[in-house]
């Protein structure tokens, strides 16, 4: 396996981008990443793009070719492939790009993630997202994602005494981080009281426990470490571990609904490959589609003991100044969650932190970061561990 580095990153503003098309968003993120990397179109061996449901959100399938076309590369005939794994689509696309370079097949790969979710109304967006659940066993009976994660939260509360206040504190922390991210959808601080008194969505989750519906795109340029210096003099960020795992599509089929086994297995794979343990991780971007998801994630990634996620939040372990900062970008909660773009946006944040160009949300000298991207209620998980070189 060859070593692979992130040599360029690009991201659009996340939010309700009424005046930008799907095509414009992909081109904007891609061109930013290419400019950042120093590569030229003719250097690119392959493209991968993560998108969960462009067909339902904007009526456009066949987006592998579209992204190459929108980027101005149609004349170069670059192999371009769409990757789909619900909200983990972006992370999976990163892994495909990574594997294609690590295997020796390619040297330079662009990986993009895109979702434009606001062109349909709220009900249609919820229905489309619910296609990531099990149609026969869950969605058909009316279950939506807030409902599934609410069941996980209820059970977590029952088993471990996790409280609504602790859930609220996750949202408060991520909004505090999002204020410092110019690309975040919601650059505003919230209070625990505000989170606790927000409109109910699915008990115990309120509106401010949920990530929003978002338009946005992100892209990175991956390159073999041996060729990277041909293109850039910027600090390289190496992907030192890549893990992926799957689980039952339906929540009820799982061994436990408070542990995402896909996270546990993907993390073990990435830790083993990188020869790192949870304690070696300086910071992480985790998949906080709902506040309970972040609490489960920090447990399942081994940052804290199972059941202690809520306590860890109380102890401020995961705040920006804590011992294990989580979601310095604002996370899905505040930065926004354009589902197919999220996994790529997480890699952008981790790379920026490790390169030292995260602006006023820059952590003090981090060495190792982790990105954790989940599809559905935990049927797919993809994790990358990255190190500054």
């Amino acid at each position: 396996m060859r070593d692979v580095a992130v040599i360029g990153v690009g991201i659009t503003k996340f939010g309700e981008l009424w005046n930008k098309s799907f095509r414009q968003l992909t081109a904007e993120a891609g061109s930013k990443a290419i400019l950042d990397s120093g590569v030229d179109g003719k250097d690119i061996d392959a493209m991968y793009v993560g998108s969960m449901s462009s067909g339902r959100f904007v009526g456009q399938e066949h987006i592998g070719a579209l992204v190459a076309d929108a980027s101005g590369f149609s004349h170069l005939h670059i192999p371009s492939t769409r990757v789909e794994g619900a909200c983990a689509s972006g992370g999976l696309a990163i892994r495909q790009g990574y594997l294609s370079i690590a295997s020796g097949m390619n040297d330079v790969v662009i990986v993009g993630g895109i979702e434009k979710m606001n062109d349909v109304g709220g009900t249609s967006a919820t229905e489309t997202l619910a296609t990531a659940a099990d149609q026969e066993w869950e969605s058909f009976f009316g279950v939506t994602f807030p409902g599934l994660y609410a069941m996980m939260a209820k059970r977590h509360m029952y088993e471990f005494g996790t409280t609504k206040e602790q859930l609220a504190k996750v949202a408060v922390k991520n909004h505090a981080n999002g204020v410092k991210n110019p690309n975040a959808q919601y650059q505003m601080e919230i209070t625990v009281d505000k989170a606790l008194n927000a409109s109910p969505v699915a008990d115990p989750l309120g509106l401010l426990d949920c990530s929003p519906v978002t338009d946005g795109a992100a892209a990175v340029v991956l390159c073999s470490v041996e060729k990277a210096k041909e293109f850039t003099q910027k600090p390289l960020v190496k992907i030192i571990g890549s893990g992926q795992a799957s689980d039952t599509l339906s929540l009820h089929g799982r061994r436990s609904i408070t542990t995402l086994d896909a996270t546990v297995h993907a993390a073990n794979m990435a830790y083993k490959q990188s020869n790192k343990s949870p304690s070696d991780i300086d910071f992480a971007e985790v998949h906080d589609c709902f506040t309970i998801a972040e609490i489960c994630a920090i447990e399942d990634l081994g940052f804290v003991e199972k059941g202690k996620g809520g306590y860890a939040v109380d102890q401020n372990i995961t705040t920006f100044d804590g011992s294990k900062p989580v979601n310095t970008s604002g996370g899905l909660k505040s930065k926004g969650h354009p589902v197919g773009a999220t996994g790529v946006a997480q890699i952008v944040e981790v790379a920026q932190q490790l390169r030292g160009d995260a602006g006023n949300r820059q952590l003090s000298n981090p060495h190792v970061g982790l990105a954790h991207n989940v599809g559905g209620s935990g049927a797919t998980c993809v994790i990358h561990i990255m190190e500054g070189m």
Binding site: E16, W18, N19, N118, G121, G122, S199, P200
Partner: protein, 349 residues
């Protein structure tokens, strides 16, 4: 020539009210929260015999009662509505006949979502200025539709206001009007469909707020005014949240919009909304008061008016017809069952 402006005006709001909480109860929603979120306590409901034609006639008659204008001197009638009773056959002819303004009369029905009423005021102003007509009657009125269970059901209401535009005995000069228009599909109702559709959150930022704030800014730039030059500001009011936010964005105070903000008590009267707001302000305005009106119609556009109240308001017979607030307070509550029956939500054979 003389200044052109509003010579008389009148309103019409159905008596029946349904509380937002009563609607929420039917759908298992938190009425308190919805009411607070929209800033709408209750909305007006048309009785089975009320429609845009009857509301327009009532409003026009109220305007005539407050003046000595001979209806035969009215040379044009424009009725703005998105609930004209007929798809083909004008509401304006019904109104013209009912007030005795026919037959030497230009008539057309207007539709531009919620701003067709103010579009009528603009046309009447132009016709009077051009001396094509002595007086023009512009009406904004609606018995607006909302699908059962839709978010619009809490706000879609009935009511309207009529304005007679002329150049003699003007009570409020229309100093300037300006419109900001784009093709923005935020809310629509296709032909032969009973209920409108809307683009959810798209109806906010790129639609209402862009048009209302752009129109207000450009109008103030043209006439050289700033927010604190105005005594009253009226913004289109689909709910109470939007006009309050628009006022804040533009630098107007809650005090400036208070008297023209009627939506909390009667809901959104669509083509009637900005017109009813203006009528409510004229009910209390004094000579010299400066008023800015910014309507909004989905699809989308905003009409802006810079208005100055004249000394003639002192001798104007406001008390010859009910004020808007008198109509607001003249009400009978109904439950959802009667609402469903009277607004044709029930299907039976």
């Amino acid at each position: 020539m003389n200044d052109v402006g509003i010579v008389s005006y009148g309103g019409s709001i159905p008596q029946m009210r349904i509380k937002a909480k009563e609607i929420a109860k039917v759908w298992g929603k938190d009425g308190e929260r919805i009411s607070k979120g929209l800033g709408i306590i209750e909305k007006s409901v048309p009785s089975i015999d009320q429609d845009t034609a009857t509301i327009s006639v009532e409003a026009a008659r109220a305007a005539l009662k407050r003046s000595t204008i001979n209806p035969q001197d009215i040379g044009a009638i424009y009725i703005g509505s998105e609930s004209h009773p007929y798809a083909v056959k004008p509401t304006g002819t019904i109104v013209g006949e009912a007030i005795g303004a026919t037959p030497d009369l230009m008539v057309a029905d207007y539709e531009f979502a919620c701003k067709a009423g103010t579009a009528g005021i603009q046309n009447c102003t132009a016709l009077v200025k051009a001396e094509f007509i002595k007086y023009g009657l512009a009406v904004g009125a609606d018995t607006s539709q909302a699908a059962p269970g839709d978010a619009l059901e809490y706000s879609a209401a009935a009511g309207g206001a009529a304005f007679i535009i002329g150049s003699e005995n003007v009570i409020a000069n229309i100093n300037k009007t300006y419109s900001f228009t784009t093709d923005t599909p935020d809310f629509w109702r296709r032909a032969e469909r009973k209920y409108p559709k809307h683009g959810g959150r798209f109806t906010g930022e790129p639609a209402y707020f862009r048009h209302v704030t752009s129109c207000a800014k450009k109008l103030m730039e043209i006439v050289g005014t700033k927010p604190d030059d105005y005594d009253y500001a009226i913004f289109h009011q689909p709910n109470a949240k939007f006009p309050r936010a628009a006022a804040r964005l533009l630098g107007f105070t809650p005090e400036q919009i208070k008297d023209g903000l009627i939506v909390p008590y009667i809901g959104n009267t669509y083509s009637g909304a900005s017109c009813v707001g203006l009528a409510a302000v004229l009910d209390v305005a004094k000579p010299g008061d400066r008023i800015i009106v910014i309507s909004y119609g989905s699809g989308a556009g905003s009409d802006g008016f810079d208005i100055t109240v004249t000394d003639n308001i002192n001798s104007f017979k406001r008390s010859n017809a009910q004020t808007i607030m008198e109509m607001v307070n003249d009400k009978t509550y109904i439950d959802y069952g009667k609402y469903a029956k009277d607004t044709d939500l029930l299907i039976w054979e």
